[in-house]
């Protein structure tokens, strides 16, 4: 922890030495330092901020944001950051520890601000980004925060956000159209972890999950039996595997009920460049395509 603090102080003193001479001539050289808590937020920040922000994503592609534990390297980034973009709704349980450890003075931007939370039991379901309409609010929040933190580039951020929001709006249209093609009585699936509450509420596809809201909890025999009964009585056409949870449980349920294994839905993190979902838009397209083909006759 010592080194980053020293480096930070060094930067500060250099900056005070250098700034007076160059401030008038080159006001836009320093890029805004932004830290995003996980890959999907990182994608939003990238789309709005473009090359005017220096972005660090704490939980990168394929990581599990529920069980992340910070590294010193990340703590150093947080110390330097001007903005820290988080999801909120209790997703980043490790955040207070990290902020304290890093001694950060970053402004915290809660991307879910203004979104009505859904409850799972007594907990808030954090996976609000699964609804594209919510993602638009995320982007608007991020745009406003970036503009406030760096007024010089505010117009640039607004322009980027506008074109990205237009893409999201088109995406929303695609999703609605795909859902409308699935017969009403087949719009239900089983998925390993209830990350799709907002998706379900927005598009009217029912998600039944064997495990609680976090990937950390283990299923009881009673839960699994209840799901098997439900699949049998309600004729659920497909069960879905998620990348982060134990797929063997899903296969067991599928074997016992005859429901189709519908492929992989992506919930909490983007994939790397070669994967199915390097960006948020790719993720939504991948999910809706997978769902539509599993639920089609």
């Amino acid at each position: 922890m010592r080194k980053p603090v020293v480096a930070h102080l060094l930067c500060l003193s250099l900056a005070t030495l250098v700034t007076p001479a160059f401030a008038q001539d080159q006001p836009m050289q320093a890029r805004l330092k932004v830290v995003a808590s996980f890959s999907i937020l990182g994608d939003f920040v990238k789309n709005v901020g473009g090359d005017r922000v220096e972005l660090t994503t704490l939980v990168g592609s394929d990581g599990d944001v529920h069980v992340y534990s910070p590294t010193p390297n990340h703590a150093a980034k947080v110390t330097d950051a001007k903005l820290l973009v988080i999801n909120g709704f209790g997703l980043e349980g490790w955040l207070p520890r990290l902020l304290q450890a890093a001694g950060s003075k970053a402004t915290i931007v809660t991307a879910t601000q203004g979104i009505a939370p859904l409850k799972v039991g007594s907990n808030t379901d954090p996976h609000a980004w699964q609804s594209v309409a919510n993602a638009e609010k995320y982007v608007a929040n991020i745009r406003d925060a970036l503009a406030a933190a760096d007024p010089m580039d505010a117009d640039f951020f607004r322009k980027n956000a506008q074109s990205y929001l237009a893409n999201l709006e088109a995406l929303l249209g695609e999703v609605r159209q795909a859902v409308s093609r699935i017969p009403q009585q087949r719009r239900k699936v089983i998925s390993t972890h209830d990350a799709f509450g907002y998706f379900a509420a927005a598009y009217g596809i029912q998600f039944i999950a064997p495990i609680g809201v976090s990937t950390e909890s283990e299923a009881s025999a009673r839960d699994v039996a209840a799901i098997i009964r439900q699949v049998k009585t309600e004729h659920v056409p497909a069960v879905f595997l998620e990348r982060v949870s134990d797929p063997r449980l899903m296969r067991r349920i599928s074997a016992e009920t005859g429901a189709r294994i519908g492929g992989t839905l992506i919930s909490d993190s983007l994939t790397d460049e070669k994967g199915d979902a390097p960006t948020y838009i790719d993720m939504v397209r991948h999910n809706i395509k997978t769902l539509a083909s599993a639920l089609a006759k």
């Binding site: 939980v59 394929d62 009881s220 025999a221 449980l249």
Partner: protein
Amino acid sequence: MIYDALIAPFIDFEFMRRALAAAIALSLGGAPIGVFLMLRRMSLVGDAMAHAILPGAAIGFLLSGLNLFAMTVGGLIAGFAVAILAGVVARATDLKEDASLATFYLASLALGVTIVSIKGTNIDLLHVLFGDILAMDDPTLLVIAFNATVTLAVLAVIYRPLVIESVDPLFLRTVSRAGGPAHLIFLALVVINLVNAFQALGTLLGVGLMILPAGIARFWSRELTGMISIAVASAIVSGYAGLVLSFQTRIPSGPAIILVATALYVFSILFGNVRGLARQLFPGRHLEA
């Protein structure tokens, strides 16, 4: 009514039958191993070995995803390496077994965590390795049954030297040289059973199904055959009752099984035949004569 509570879950649901089969296989292999661990005062070694296995299995996971074979082999290699190195060091130098095992398992754990961090994913080790007894597919079940069979067969072969070494190692050293190999083979069996248990219950709870039945058996029998039989029986009962408990309440299955075993253990401490607390407070008539 009783039928609905105790038997119907297993008739109605295949996953319950598979979970029960896994519990029985784990009990048959693990409980005798637990008894020997206890007799050799190595009960905590099981716990240490569980940590030594973690990194190997994690490496297997990183190389080929949630692949049963890779994780099993990785766990076995890491566990064997630590067990054998620790055994060799303990026998060749003055360092005691527990101390040398502690150093090796800590090193192994550190290595595993390092490898996982270099790879850059933040998937929690324990989370990945937490098995689920409700999710027994054919390969997992076969691996567990196979390992239990191997354990029993090997145990039968090394039974004699192992028993003598557990009770009187000096005597064995004077009459035979089988002590060293028997000890190493026994450590290998410990590893196999731990890897076995982590498929079903996760590493930490898996150790529980090995050690707790041995503790229970200690209160009911003075001789080895009796102890092993009671340990196996109480492990199977814990497995069955734990599954029923998990089916009737919402307690996850792994913890439910261990909680039942713990309840049996507490009961044994209080009312056990052999030096249970109640026996000591109210000695039977035969002691007065």
